[in-house]
């Protein structure tokens, strides 16, 4: 079920196991049959920890989605709400509880499981509504870091960036620190901590404080991680704004990957059976899980999209040849052997079929004129061309009312690549945007300015060219097929965040002090003492393991770049990646926009 979690350098199955154990323990506290009412947002992340079968073993008989009104009939002893600590959800729960039929027998007991943390504010809110006493168990389930893949952990906290950089609310940082403490409890104390940015500093401080205050956390596990690198998202605001050009990155940009699942337009996946000629074409989107458990996907996900076609075609030949083997199978033994391989071959075939279809869908988009134009402008900005004047393409897009998020991504990208826009240019963009999309977007524009994504060049100095040159963010001779540098993930642009990680490993940050000072927030190094018995004696040629924690989100292209570094033959470092949320430019900007529709409830 979760074999892919143990395939990496660090066996993350242990983390998943810990999560499952905690879940079982909670369920067993509520004796008897149960129904779970789900905050829909949580079903995805929970799905990565447990399947329905686990819940069923612990007498969960029904599951519903949380919505206002009366709870569905279900003859169970317990109703358990699995929710994030959000006030609007508390209102729905209140409604559910107040509408419960008190006359029913037997009575149903209510419980709340807060994920990832109990909230005094929410409990207060429930108390105000007079329902707090209705809940027998109110507990928390610390689902801080969820294992997504053998080398990837995410907190899936949508609003983390907004909370940290717009509202200066550090709650998600506290959760990050908690998650890191859990990780250390399972995988040993991480001896070295590096960081860059205000939030990174906070998290490191909290970890050190927690360790001091809970001496019980001193463990005797041999450390798996050598280094922790904490990075603020606002140290590198540029990378997520650019269009990701790896296979997985493009799937996410175009269709959005949620908790390792993607929903795709069904047409290309229609089962083509003979004689059934389009009788019932599926109308529901096709949902696929994407992770390294699928051999083919693991091979192609981090490649530049331009290099995916050749792999798929090679695979096709191999599989065809394998199936041809059946003609040569003469003896019973040979036939038996062929048959025994059949399931594996069929799985490979179905995997190939899926990815061929996905690649076709993506190609339709990447070959479109608009995709090309958009990318041209992005690449001009990132290489420092014409960043200081109003861009014609952006104006055109506004005139044609392209989606607002696309416009905002481009304008922010231009701003970041110019260390802020000239006041006149900024005003011009703002005016065009609110006249075309509505005045209320003043609010969104203000949020983007507060987060530093959009600003006027006040200091009069543009640092970006220096940063670009020193960190070699723009590479002219990029090789998409057989890359020799991380810049392949954006076909020329090397993600700043990953460059920082790369330079930290070799030759060290001392070499780039000047540039580090230009980027926001402090950079620092901390050491955590290990008991003498646990100090590592490295075998010759053994790689170091570094955990890179992106505070405020990370893109799939950045993950691909880090995986590329892990696989470099003389790299010397393997990376495990953790983040508050897996993001792309669109989901990120969206999280910063004012919610303009009234709440659904």
């Amino acid at each position: 079920m979760a074999a892919h979690l143990s395939s990496g350098r660090v066996n993350l199955t242990a983390l998943r196991e810990a999560g499952r154990r905690e879940l079982r323990e909670f369920l067993d506290k509520c004796a008897g049959s149960k129904a779970i009412v789900w905050d829909e947002y949580l079903t995805g992340p929970f799905g990565l920890i447990a399947q329905y079968s686990l819940l069923k073993e612990h007498e969960v008989e029904k599951m519903f989605t949380l919505k206002p009104g009366r709870l569905p009939q279900a003859d169970v002893k317990n109703i358990i709400f699995f929710v994030r600590p959000k006030l609007e959800l508390m209102d729905i729960i209140t409604d559910n509880v107040l509408r419960e039929d008190r006359g029913r027998s037997p009575q149903r007991d209510f419980h709340i499981l807060f994920v990832p943390r109990r909230s005094l504010l929410c409990e207060q809110w429930l108390k105000e509504q007079g329902v707090l006493g209705s809940f027998i168990h109110r507990e928390q389930y610390s689902l801080d870091l969820i294992p997504f893949d053998g080398d990837l952990l995410s907190m899936e906290s949508e609003s983390a960036f907004k909370e940290c950089y717009l509202e200066s609310d550090q709650t998600s940082l506290y959760h990050a620190a908690k998650g890191l403490m859990t990780l250390q409890a399972l995988y040993g104390t991480i001896p070295q901590i590096f960081g860059k940015g205000e939030c990174a500093r906070h998290v490191a401080n909290m970890m050190i404080r927690m360790k001091r205050e809970f001496p019980g956390s001193q463990n005797s596990i041999f450390p798996v991680f050598d280094t922790l690198l904490l990075l603020d998202r606002n140290v590198d605001l540029l990378t997520p704004l650019a269009t990701q050009l790896t296979y997985e990155g493009l799937i996410d940009e175009i269709y959005g990957i949620q908790n390792t699942y993607v929903k795709l337009p069904p047409e290309k996946f229609a089962p083509k059976k003979q004689g059934e000629g389009g009788k019932d074409l599926p109308t529901e989107p096709k949902k696929l899980q994407l992770n390294s458990a699928e051999e083919l996907y693991a091979e192609i996900r981090d490649k530049n999209f331009n290099a995916v076609g050749s792999v798929l075609s090679k695979k096709a030949k191999i599989i065809s040849a394998a199936f041809e083997e059946r003609h040569h199978a003469k003896t019973v033994g040979e036939i038996k052997q062929f048959v025994s391989q059949l399931p594996h071959m069929q799985a490979a075939r179905s995997s190939l079929a899926n990815h061929t279809s996905i690649a076709e869908l993506i190609k339709d988009i990447t070959t479109s004129e608009d995709f090309f134009d958009n990318l041209t402008v992005e690449q001009e900005f990132m290489s420092g061309i014409d960043t200081d004047k109003v861009n014609n393409y952006i104006e055109d897009c506004i005139a044609q009312k392209h989606p607002l998020i696309k416009i905002l991504r481009l304008v922010c990208l231009q701003s970041v690549c110019n260390s802020g826009l000239k006041q006149k240019v900024l005003d011009h963009y703002k005016k065009e945007i609110i006249q075309t999309y509505g005045y209320e977007h003043i609010l969104t524009l203000n949020n983007l300015e507060k987060a530093g994504l959009l600003k006027s060049q006040t200091s009069g100095r543009n640092n970006y060219p220096t940063i670009r040159k020193t960190l070699r963010l723009w590479m002219d001779d990029v090789n998409e097929q057989n890359p020799n540098d991380i810049s392949y993930v954006y076909s020329g642009y090397a993600p700043l965040s990953v460059r920082l990680a790369q330079l930290l490993a070799r030759p060290g940050w001392r070499s780039i002090e000047e540039v580090l000072k230009m980027l926001p927030g402090p950079h620092f190094e901390e050491r955590q003492q290990l008991p003498t018995g646990l100090q590592k004696k490295r075998q010759h040629g053994e790689n170091r393991v570094t955990l890179v924690f992106f505070l405020g989100g990370v893109t799939y292209a950045e993950i691909a770049a880090l995986r590329f570094l892990s696989q470099m033959e003389d790299g010397g470092t393997e990376y495990v990646i953790a983040t508050t949320k897996l993001i792309n430019g669109t989901s990120w900007i969206k999280s910063l926009m004012e919610k303009l529709e009234p709440a659904p409830f």
């Binding site: 799905g47 059976k273 061929t356």
Partner: protein, 482 residues
Amino acid sequence: MSRARADEEEYWHSSKFRAFTFDDEDDELSQLKESKRAVNSLRDIVDDDDDDLEKVSWSGDPVGSISWSIKETASSSTSSLESRDSSLQKGYSSYSAFPKQASSYSLSSLFKGRNKLPSFQSLSDALSDTGVKNYAPELRRPKAEYKDYSSDWSPKDTVRRMQRGKVCSLERFRSLQDKLVLLDEAVAGHDGNIITAVLIFLKRTLRKEILFQELEVRQVALCHLIHFLKETGEQKLLLDLLRFLDRTEEVALSQYREHLNIQDVEKRREFLKGCIGLPFSAEDTSHVQDHYTLLERQIIIEANDRHLETAGQSEIFRKYPRKASILNMPLVTTLFYSCFYHYTEAELSALQIPDKQYVLTALAARAKLRAWNDVDALFTTKNWLGYTKKKAPIGFHRVVEILQRNNAPVQVLQEYVRLVEDVETQLNLATKYKCHDVVIDTYRDLKDRIQLAAYRCKVERGSAEEEKIDSILNNTQIRWKN
């Protein structure tokens, strides 16, 4: 676009930038076809087992996953949802038979809940008398929890215990000094949950002015309080706080945001009018002013047009019924609407629109109505000698594209294609939109015999265009360059 497309292309290929393109002939992804073929040919062999291959429902959730199970278990139990009567009181007292965990934190009712659900009122009223006894579970507090109330925890210990999810009373912290130490401890712990809890306590037990003063020097706690007030919708206190802090621009924006919650347009207009005087940045002040002016105008237009439409006497409304009300639409949409329904009425000057944007919008609106004369007039300028000249602030290539999108006939289209300045762009557009005359004339002017001859097979056999090409090719006067 300032940089003509042709330049752009050349720039793209010659410069160091690598385009993300797929060359048609030899591209890697044409190999997709190959793998597709292979996959398809394999279907015959394995199709029979196809269905057993993956245990995945069509929606893709593996059978047994959580989201799949929600659908499955829910569908089997939704049947009798509303079928019960609501003898709410009966048997309700049995509820108290279960030992209940107390409200662990003795933060008594602190902030007034918004009653967002008027429908609750009746239900909670009905429950209120039984509610008292059932919702007062303190009697059953386990022994262990008593301890927390009797012990004299220091602020530091209190925060630590709260972090571990233990019960703590904050009421003991009576002096301002104690309360502030408690707050500082909470902040030092970084747990937003605890910080908020302490803030709720302080907010209830301190005078507003003192709370504000103390928070001014405690930025982290301040941010949490602001966030908390936003979350709980305590707008008035929030504005008081921001005013106290002199964060006037934020006050203005926060107040302006409120207009989104006002559904009634008249009330919304009044509200926006009130926003105009707020201390926005200079730039936003003018935006808010414009927002108000726009809505004011929209209300007039809407009333007028709804009347016209129902009266059924205006031809344009009969022919093109309105799809939606114009209220609360963006400026450019309003402009389009006006150019569509009220073009002749000189009604538009009140909306200050940059030239470019006006031309784009008016062009799209008039083209949609196929009012080609209006389109023509849009680009005609007269100089003082009375000569007319064609000018387009947006570039004629854009004009052509917009016309084409609105299905303009070739005759109209080619008139504007001819006005495109850059020859290569002109040729591309002409070829793309089949303006044969323009293509033929251009090749003639370029003296490009080969291209012209090649184009001959793109026009219809025996057509006037073919004749034209033939006559040009046979013209001995032309000195072809090839």
